[in-house]
Symmetry: D5
């Protein structure tokens, strides 16, 4: 949670819990991904005014809270290694496969990076008789390095 947005985040999580909504349901109603809308609630993204109004309608927010959704956040997180096992696994995956992914991306695209700004991310469930699977998709624009 972005510590600087904690009071706003708490209002939003409480309201959501009272209404019994999931991020998936909210995302569907406002026409966005559930991860994006959750990232706004946790104070790690700003909502464009039309999306802020849509969120406000679903959660019945007052005017001030609605405007606060559009403030540009100073994104922040703890820089220690995460402890929550679900989140730690992302860290472990990047430790084990980060270099491999870099090679495979740059062999395909040339020297550059996958943007984390012009970016989107989604989650879905894959049915499997041996136990269902979590599938996460990361999708970012390729940005090449340039000489000058």
């Amino acid at each position: 949670m972005n510590a600087m947005h904690a009071p706003l985040t708490e209002v939003l999580l409480e309201t959501k819990r009272e209404k019994g909504l999931t991020w998936a349901q909210i995302g569907e109603r406002i026409g966005t991904s559930p991860i994006w809308v959750a990232s706004v609630a946790y104070g790690n993204n700003s909502a464009p005014p039309d999306k802020a109004r849509a969120i406000a309608e679903v959660l019945e927010l007052d005017e001030e809270t609605t405007r606060a959704l559009s403030i540009y956040p100073t994104k922040n997180w703890e820089q220690t290694i995460p402890t929550d096992p679900l989140i730690y696994r992302f860290y472990e995956i990047m430790g084990v496969y980060g270099e491999a992914a870099k090679d495979v991306i740059q062999e395909e695209f040339g020297d550059g990076i996958m943007s984390g700004i012009d970016f989107e991310m989604d989650v879905h469930r894959q049915q499997d008789p041996k136990g269902d699977r979590v599938v996460i998709t990361l999708n970012g624009k390729f940005l090449p390095y340039r000489a000058w």
Copy 2:
């Protein structure tokens, strides 16, 4: 790079460079993902004997190097925040979207985690007139917590 496997990794990268192969080409020939085969070369996964032999055929490795591909590694990586911009963006993405992803996964699956062991990961290119996009898919078995 797994420091403890550095000499083996160097042999493999050198051989691959001399043969002018990409991880995508090697993966295709041995029937695996390019990321998985690169992770073996970087010393972060062991290859089952049949996959080790397949890699050995493609790269024309000697017997000892082939056997070394099947040793179970002690996976290791630097725990500081990564500096390479491509790899740092993964870290930034998990900082910005980690909590959101946790919520969305657990709303769908219940309390538990996405396995990083019973797991696979792939990369492909998405054509886009405004600039092509990198698409990464993470796919892991859901493991529920259990009382005892």
Copy 3:
């Protein structure tokens, strides 16, 4: 203690102290291990609804506190080396014997890990004329790595 669950933890510890119960007694009444029930109280595990109700009966908790036992926690702990001597000894044991245990496990099971999710842990006393002994059992499902 999971800082994010501290108020709930304090209520539970206070109630338990007033009733003069041990974790062993609570675990016995609700049919679980004392360690598991203590881990719920410290905010590091969620209780399935039936176990939450059983805990609530033993501790005579109100409705809201009972529901709170089933929220999926973001597990967190301080990542510095622990100072409490009892807990530090676990850390020392893993420093001294961690690699040895990895070798012995993987020689028996192949490349993979012991799950910390599909997992249980118990403590008992072993009588000994030279001084009684603490015996701790860790029991987790083996998860093999897989190529893809």
Copy 4:
């Protein structure tokens, strides 16, 4: 691996690999736990002279290497959070269950600790149709605090 004993450790691991022995087999022949004998090889314990001779017989070590097994080591390990997934799970388990275990032990034994010196540790396999399980037993003398 204890960095200060690395050359000795490498000789022992190489010899063991050439002879195709597991720690379980070596432990059985010399009458000790496989974890204890592996911890000697990794330079984290000294062997009493009779055990050193027994190890030397099994591995056919020379006189100097045999004597080196009995030197009292300065035990050392990296204090960062471990990266190898198998070893990290021990760290995660202690983060999630450390406080719970402390409470349960001290409710049973009084204020004090489980010794990590007068201590032993073993691993065995538990057959399970849903997937075999790793069972680790930690066994240490209880040491009470005392006023003076």
Copy 5:
């Protein structure tokens, strides 16, 4: 100061200051070392019930505070290098002489450690015409390592 016991510590220090007592005087009246009784006040040791009652008599504590002296603490301290010059000198001494002390102890006693649990520590003044000297005695049971 053990942060988790800070309110209790403050009550004890305030009461002691009001009564104009030193730790030496309190220790003498209850039959313990001044360091041990100060360590209880700072929340780093529990008092057996008889010692708790003796402290309560000297400081005229109420019933609840008295009982609190016997709770088993989770001992904790800041793990950064201490800044207070008096305490830093202990750290410097252990940096300069730690290895030397280890050698001298193990040459005398064999492989093992000095217990910090079955332990006591005292301070006294040594008169010296060139400036009086502080003499600190550390006294702990030797615990040998054992094979198993």
Copy 6:
């Protein structure tokens, strides 16, 4: 070990081992404490020329090694928390009892510190039917703070 003096330290430890001497025996022959002479060997103290000559006689050192014993060292040690269990116990003792010792010293001597420079330290064995005990004495000049 002072990394900057490692080659000298290794020569001294090797020579001592070949001659089968303990620090206690060397200290006795040259008229110093065993801890002080060990601290010189580990590169954390310089020997005055007469003591350097005495050490050289006992260990039969050449001229250059003898002169090197008198160079003023830049004392250095790893600032992480020590891992060796014997040395860690000193760290734990200072965490548990540091503040208590500070109070007891300053109640006796006034505001100031125990010098770690005008200082000596010794170890001896205390016979005890329940297990012999290690007794360490720290002895340093008291230095008062002064206004100016």
Copy 7:
């Protein structure tokens, strides 16, 4: 210096020193900024093949060194606070003015960032009778955040 490119960097710096060239002169001959060409030499950027050939002509490099200039680097640097006073001042400037710059940029451009990939940077001297001044220009494409 990128540690992984150190041997290449040393060759380039040595050759440049022997030829008595500055980065400004090399940049001018190959038609790029001196900072960009220095960043290639330090192993923090790859040169497109035409720029690599141009650098090779100026420095009279062999074929293998020339090809090495075009390998995509894993950019890396020490993550501690820099000690060199010139480089530390950049760090201090970002500490003092980072938030102010963020506000001023986002008030002008909206929520988003200045790219460090589609980026260039230059240095020039500004004559001043009170002492000449260093002027550094940072120029990066603005990348807006986007909902999805």
Copy 8:
């Protein structure tokens, strides 16, 4: 934000938001750069009395707040690597180009540094059909090292 000036900063940011002013507008009215005036508001610079009065007129501040703008701050910031993506890019730029900039500056000016005290910094927008660009200018006096 300078934590020690947080209450003052909050008053200034709130007042600015209520008046609907940007730092660019405030800077223009008082005759300074927007970055400098923002750095005063964030508690990282003191305003000379005339500039403090000018800020006070624009924002209609009371007498006490106005005087507080002229107190010399103890400048402080978190020393961890910044998480906000806009601010992190500055850090990344200095990691990638810091050494290159040092070389280019010292080749032009001799051994010395760019002052961060006798310093100014500005931001402007550069129109570009492929996407507008952020241009930041750093301007500091060159200070040479001197022998003595």
Copy 9:
């Protein structure tokens, strides 16, 4: 500021500001250095009773505050690298010149240290047409190492 003395420090700084006094003026009236008296106010030194009374007279303090000036502080400070540019320069000076100073001192005095306890420190202004200069004097007793 010593966090444990923060309330006392704030009272003293406020009183000093209201009276419009500098540390130089206070030091002059009570017959001490301005730095020493400021270090008492910041909670990093205790005042002997006569100096405490003198400070109390100048600042018109009540009885309790006066007594508090004589309590022996646990000196503490943040151990991160300082961010305030004035204080950072001290740190930079010690990084650049620390070893040089050690050599020069020990060549003059022998193996030992400059005491930071039997110590004083002063500041004065040196007029200079090219810009006035800050002159700081550190003055501490030399303490030699001794064998034992």
Copy 10:
């Protein structure tokens, strides 16, 4: 020692030791402070060509070593808290008196800093019947902050 200049530093220290010179003697012959000339030898300052030639004459250095004295160094030092007791005392002094010095300097000079670049530092011995004293003088140009 600046790790990047270690080989040069070793040559200089060895030559100096062979000639039996102190930094004070070298400084006197070349007309500089002993601290400055030692800082050049440790690789933390460059010598202007005339001073480099003077040092070369005193130490009888070859041409290449002489030129190397004038290369502009990337000054670097370990950023951990120093362990050598003499150097640590500087760190302790700045922890105890840093804020006090900042106040006293800024009350005299206004908001700004003491330069660590336009700077000199010297050491001398002060005779004292109670034990001689080390006197260190730091002398740097005052640099005021400026609005823009």
